[in-house]
């Protein structure tokens, strides 16, 4: 497919990228491109300038702090997370990244692109909401760090504003996590998903049932308490060719229990 005409810059630093984004209202950051290139083919989006972040080394890599906190550069690919010994400090990360699409997509797609797209069917928004990730956003006026609740704002919409970049994702220490999804084929797009974390307290995040991950804190980790929490939640799932809204609500309950059970097993 021939794309619409588009400008292209490949900055070598975050400062250059921010300047390029600020210079043109129609500029858009290009991360792994595994969503954006298709969006451009479909003419669902038509940036005037692509600011390719692939040349910025400062946005790549995984650091493990002394307290077990992971700091993951926004341009780190799924394959890099799967292969990283540091990332095994929070094993669920590599496990879920290995379930995204296929080898080729995992080699290009990035953690930053995944969360900044905030497609409700993506794997990482509910996972990162469940495990208490924080997101560092840099703009012309400096940087700020926000929680998942303040990061995911709507479908395809996050706290990263015009002229800003997500630079890194910080993930606290923990091991007792789970993730369950019903997908279109093995490792395909999620029809419904749930992530769970039992590090300190029970936290479940549901995907595909609202514009943003729905975070619940069941009173206990037993199946009845988890089901009750999902039943008591206000969900707004879409109906489409893959599942009705009612079926997605049903799946949310089942998957929440499965995710919690996996988290219990990995304790």
């Amino acid at each position: 497919m021939l794309l619409r005409e588009v400008g292209y810059v490949r900055p070598g630093s975050v400062a250059e990228a921010l300047a390029a984004l600020a210079a043109d209202d129609g500029a858009r950051a290009l991360a792994g491109g595994q969503t954006l290139v298709n969006v451009m083919k479909a003419r669902a989006g038509s940036p005037d300038v692509l600011v390719d972040l692939n040349g910025i080394d400062a946005l790549k890599g995984i650091e493990l702090g002394g307290d077990g906190t992971l700091e993951i550069g926004a341009m780190t690919t799924y394959s890099e997370i799967v292969a990283s010994s540091e990332a095994r400090a929070r094993p669920i990360l590599g496990e879920v990244c290995a379930q995204i699409a296929d080898v080729q997509v995992r080699n290009r797609g990035t953690i930053g692109g995944n969360v900044c797209t905030n497609d409700p069917t993506n794997h990482l928004p509910p996972l990162l909401a469940a495990i208490g990730a924080e997101f560092t956003i840099q703009g012309a006026d400096g940087s700020r760090t926000v929680s998942a609740a303040d990061f995911f704002l709507g479908v395809y919409f996050t706290a990263v504003g015009p002229g800003e970049l997500l630079t890194s994702v910080r993930i606290p220490a923990g091991r007792s996590d789970g993730f369950a999804a019903v997908t279109l084929g093995v490792d395909g797009t999620c029809i419904a998903s749930a992530a769970a974390s039992l590090n300190g307290h029970v936290r479940v995040a549901l995907g595909c049932v609202d514009a943003v991950p729905v975070v619940l804190e069941p009173a206990a980790a037993d199946a009845d308490a988890v089901r009750a929490a999902v039943q008591g939640a206000s969900l707004d799932p879409p109906s489409d060719v893959h599942a009705s809204a009612a079926y997605r609500v049903h799946l949310a309950e089942v998957l929440a229990v499965r995710a919690v059970q996996q988290a219990q097993g990995s304790a």
């Binding site: 497919m1 794309l3 292209y8 491109g33 083919k41 692939n54 296929d102 080898v103 997509v105 290009r108």
Partner: protein, 150 residues
Amino acid sequence: MNISVTINGTTCERDVEPRKLLIHFVRDDLDLTGSHIGCDTGNCGACSMIVNGQLVKSCMMLAVQADEAAIETVEGLSDDDELTKLQQAFKDNHALQCGYCTPGMLMSATALLRANPHPTEDEIRKGLQGNICRCTGYWNIFEAVKAAAE
């Protein structure tokens, strides 16, 4: 934009528009038509190439992003008129029928066997997950990769 790529060992410089996808650059500008366009949506894997050692779908990348990169396509697998062990195994195991997916399958299997010379059946399936074949039902392709790994 002027870009320079090394494709199957040969360095080429071309002027390309930023909107040109890597697959179109390789097929139309470099006349290497072995890599196929199947779905053009990143699902089928027929356009798979190895860029700087990594397997990618070349319809999901811009040509300008490959500036200074080393690209491998199906044309570069064998450096003479002989088939590689993997290509011979595809032939021996009837791992292709119409052949449309074959260049992508060969590149994915090549990347897999480089990283993991003796993959299990599950690892072969996972390694070829990004490539769709509508003729063979995959079985003979798995058999071919297994044979090439022996």
